[in-house]
């Protein structure tokens, strides 16, 4: 509990552990509700009103309404849950992955076609406490 878990040294990665499980519960349970077509219809018709039915923090609410995909992860969103918002928008996993990694859709698609993002240089955060031996 006192030392940070070793996976914290992985860059650009939001492991859905106990801390995020506690922080993101309401946000993810809202996403879960979108498994029902009638709820998807209500959310699409009036997102803000639909969100009133869940106890999200102001920042969680903002990330959903603004489709801030990376922001959602930072306030406890779990990608298997938040992707359901993207499905409502007609987006795919790859669309959202591109947005989260901050590059245009075609650039991300090209990276994947070229074999994906290399692990080399992407194993450890550059900060003190980790060096990439990839």
């Amino acid at each position: 509990m006192s030392t940070p878990p070793d996976y914290e040294s992985i860059p650009g990665t939001y492991v859905y552990d106990a801390r995020r499980g506690r922080q993101g519960y309401q946000l993810n349970m809202f996403c879960m509700s979108l498994n029902k077509p009638e709820n998807r219809a209500r959310f699409k018709a009036d997102p803000a009103a639909y969100l009133d039915g869940f106890s999200l923090s102001a920042e969680q609410r903002r990330t959903v309404l603004e489709r801030d995909w990376l922001g959602m992860l930072r306030v406890g969103g779990n990608i298997y849950y938040t992707i359901k918002i993207a499905f409502c928008d007609g987006l795919t996993f790859q669309d959202v992955a591109g947005m989260m990694s901050g590059v245009p859709k075609d650039v991300y698609a090209k990276m994947m076609l070229a074999g994906g993002r290399s692990p080399d240089g992407n194993r450890f955060k550059p900060a003190p406490g980790g060096t990439d031996h990839g």
Partner: protein, 282 residues
């Protein structure tokens, strides 16, 4: 006595299911992937197993964060297709195999595996995409299925070692089941992929290749891979590979790799498929 006769491991990327459901498998993007699935379908059609145990993970479909079981075994007569947020896949309902499923549930619990028993459970792409990949698009799935669902959504998933031990127990318990059912076991998920964060799209071909090599030769070594190593090397969702260990544990110590297919990309994922048969070969 019943017997586990072979194992398949395969990625279960949802986009692969969508490509099949929409008839896009012959496009330039998808053709190289689906070409590689052909031999697996032929192999399975020839094997004609009586039943399958499919080890998979749910993706916020049947289970929410309200209750997160580590291992769930489905004992129902049938498993409906889940709506994951864009309507259920247009594939047949999955028939269960309650006789063997209950036998497994009971014996596993008495053998100190702390199973959750599901009498009702919709199944999502984690289970249906492997069926589609290996069986094509039949009007009915060719065999009944025992769904074995593993948590990989909430950290921590069970360790690779625990999954391997579960497979070992499954092998023994299936062997104690009356009748002569020939059972195939699927490990699903993986290979390297990361769906989230600034590092999304990570693919590690070397890690995946070594993992497939090790599965035949030295599965015990593979069980020592930690969750952090999976996530660092194969992407945060690459940890799904722990489910392949259940399949491997359920086979004999000596196995023969009869087929392998590996393709990048399927959406964000490295799609891998491997077929292992018991015995050290001809």
């Amino acid at each position: 006595m019943a017997k586990i006769v072979a194992g398949i491991a395969t990625s279960h990327v949802p986009a692969i299911g969508v490509a099949m459901d929409k008839g896009n498998t012959a496009t330039p993007y998808w053709e190289p992937l689906f070409r590689g699935y052909g031999p697996a379908r032929e192999w399975l059609a020839k094997l004609k197993p009586d039943a399958a145990i499919i080890v998979f993970n749910d993706h916020a479909s049947a289970f929410s964060l309200q209750l997160i079981p580590t291992f769930t075994i489905g004992v129902a007569e049938r498993f409906p297709i889940a709506d994951e947020g864009f309507g259920p896949r247009p594939v047949p309902e999955v028939r269960g195999y309650p006789d063997l499923a209950w036998h497994l549930a009971e014996s596993l619990i008495l053998d100190e595996f702390d199973m959750t028993i599901a009498n009702e459970m919709p199944v999502d792409h984690g289970l249906t995409v492997p069926l589609s990949v290996t069986c094509g698009q039949p009007a009915q799935w060719p065999f009944p299925v025992i769904p074995l669902c593993v948590n990989v959504v909430q950290y921590p998933p069970p360790t690779g070692m625990r999954c391997f031990k579960l497979g070992r127990a499954i092998r023994r318990i299936v062997g104690e089941f009356a009748g002569d059912a020939r059972v195939v076991i699927y490990g699903t998920g993986g290979m390297s992929h990361q769906l989230q964060g600034e590092r999304a799209g990570l693919i590690n071909r070397k890690f995946d290749t070594d993992f497939m090599d090790g599965l035949t030769r030295d599965p015990a070594a593979l069980t020592r891979i930690t969750h952090t190593e999976y996530m660092r090397e194969a992407g945060s969702e690459g940890v799904e590979m722990v489910m392949w260990h259940v399949m491997r544990g359920a086979l004999e110590d000596d196995v023969t790799e009869v087929y392998r297919h590996y393709h990048v990309p399927a959406s964000n994922t490295a799609a891998g498929l491997i077929i292992l048969e018991n015995g050290s070969g001809a």
